[in-house]
Amino acid sequence: MSNEFQAHQIRDIIKINYKYTMGSQSKFFLELMNNKKILGTKCSKCGKIWMPPRINCSDCYVSAEWIEVKQTGIIEVSTIVWFTTSAFIKNIPYATGYIKLDGADTALLQGIFSENLVPSKIKKGKRVRAVFQKEREGKMTDFFFVPEDEYENWLNKPDYEGGD
């Protein structure tokens, strides 16, 4: 018998199925899916508008109420991804950014789509507007942002539609 080391490798996978509840955040996803609305929450004490929403204000420890936020906003920071995880590699290159929606106090991570995906097109301060999938599932991928000057073009594409 040879004493030379030989590695033994096995194929394996860890897979778990979920029926995950969004809990109190269900309203955000239902409004998104059914009515193309983007909801934040407003603290009943300090007035801070949370996006993503949380029904309790983490600063004041009091409840926060649902409010609709605007579907336009500005890019706070962005990047273009050229190499990524196995789950997203089919999408490269893609851009993501933190978007502060008009009226909100915190910024939401979202995909930024552009017909000309270059850093200058999606840099800090650029104005963007939400575009929705026609087929929505109540997930964050139901919408994305595009530069405001490309908004009408995106509405002409078959899979997408505008919000408010």
């Binding site: 920071v77 991804v81 190499f83 995880t85 933190y98 995909g111 850093p119 991928t141």
Partner: protein, 412 residues
């Protein structure tokens, strides 16, 4: 609280892949090396003398095993003693050192094993026939699953957001300044036989490497690595009893978590966790945030991405905000500079074996203070003090800083 010293350091080589070892076998190797180092340092101890273990292991999906600590506990012969697992993203190592410090400082244990291990590259992406996209995916599950993971968030895109926001605010770090960090850390690793990525490269090489996540390029990013690192911590009483020749005292520990949602942060271009952790650790050690650069001899920083190291110079108090880029241009953090940063090569040079990384960097800093670091020894150890720095998690929310001093440092 009792005084706590590092009396033994064990670090396995950082490699892309160990086909001949499992995660618990790597942990055994590091523990054995740490015990041998403690023996060399005068302490006549075996694993049977260790009273407890702190395990730094970040990701169950890497190890293909939930609660991997209990299987290591068995393999290390540590049954019937307390063992606690810490998981704080990329800062797991630093946080584990902090908790091992607390275990010993509190008097719960006189001798504690602090060990980190990670073995990521068993993850395998069938579509590309490579490991990295699947490693990145197993990490991406640490992003918020409801709002952020579905957007294709990953480690580099999370860190790059802060670097881009910092650039917008301060005009720094530029791509060339980031590249200088890569050149430095790959270069430092040339003298570290345990490093995975020793490379003699130029700024041009970094600038020409392929884009990963704008503006990070391949050579701006650390590689994921497989390794284990272990420290043996002891009370002052044990140090005396065992006649340890060269104890390295942990004199400051600081940690803080900033908001994991980058969009919730007031300043997206700063990691307040770094600032708070540093201030707490320095104060505990009797050092000053504004003068820290002249009070320590070296820093092992968390350079998962080159741009992040530049920002850390500022957040840890080495230079004023906005001054990090100029400082690397002036050679300040080079081996022969004002304050050598990442003499080991850091994560960019050594690789990033997540749970092991912060323990490796703490161990490396301790070996430097013992003047025992080998070919990458920092020439001037005059303050007798060093720091290690760990960050990690979504948006690098976790941060931990450890301050260490040798016997000369303790007298100052």
């Amino acid at each position: 609280m009792k005084k706590v010293a590092i009396i033994g350091v064990g670090i396995t080589p950082f490699r892309a892949r160990y086909l001949d070892k499992t995660y618990f076998e790597l942990a055994y190797d590091a523990t054995k090396l740490a015990l041998e180092d403690a023996n060399k340092n005068g302490a006549d101890i075996t694993h049977k003398d260790l009273q407890s273990t702190m395990y730094g292991i970040y990701n169950e999906l890497f190890e293909r095993q939930f609660m991997p600590d209990i299987f290591i506990n068995s393999y290390l012969g540590m049954n019937n003693k307390p063992g606690t697992r810490i998981a704080s993203g990329g800062a797991t190592g630093g946080y584990t050192v902090r908790m091992a410090y607390a275990e010993v400082a509190s008097g719960l244990s006189d001798l504690c094993l602090c060990i980190g291990v990670e073995k990521c590259n068993d993850c395998y992406d069938e579509q590309t026939g490579t490991t990295t996209p699947e490693v990145l995916n197993s990490i991406a599950y640490s992003a918020d699953m409801t709002y952020e993971y579905p957007m294709g968030m990953m480690a580099a895109s999370s860190y790059v957001s802060m670097v881009n926001a910092h650039f917008e605010e301060f005009g720094n770090p530029t791509e060339e300044q980031m590249a200088l960090v890569s050149v430095k850390n790959h270069g430092n690793a040339m003298n570290n036989p345990k490093a995975q990525s020793p490379m003699n490269i130029t700024v041009e090489d970094v600038m020409n490497s392929r884009i990963i996540c704008y503006p990070f390029k391949l050579l701006d990013c650390c590689l994921y690595s497989e390794a284990s690192a272990a420290l043996i911590l002891a009370t002052e009483q044990k140090v005396k009893e065992l006649k340890v020749e060269n104890p390295i005292w942990i004199t400051g520990v600081g940690a803080a978590n900033t908001d994991c949602f980058i969009g919730n942060r007031e300043d997206m271009g700063r990691l307040y966790s770094n600032i708070y952790a540093a201030k707490v650790a320095y104060k505990m050690a009797g050092l000053e945030y504004d003068k820290i650069k002249s009070q320590i001899d070296l820093a092992e920083l968390h350079d998962a991405f080159s741009g992040q190291e530049v920002i850390s110079y500022e957040e840890l108090g080495f230079v004023p905000f906005g001054g990090g880029g100029k400082w690397i241009e002036s050679g300040g953090p080079l081996m022969d500079g004002e304050l050598p940063c990442c003499p080991s090569g850091g994560l960019i040079g050594c690789g990033h074996a997540v749970g092991a990384t912060g323990i490796m960097s703490t161990g490396e800093a301790a070996l430097q203070l013992r003047r025992d670091a080998g070919k990458h020894q920092v020439k001037t150890i005059e303050n007798g003090r060093a720091i290690s720095h760990s960050i990690g998690g979504p948006g690098a929310a976790y941060a931990a800083i450890i301050v260490m001093e040798n016997e000369e440092g303790m007298k100052k």
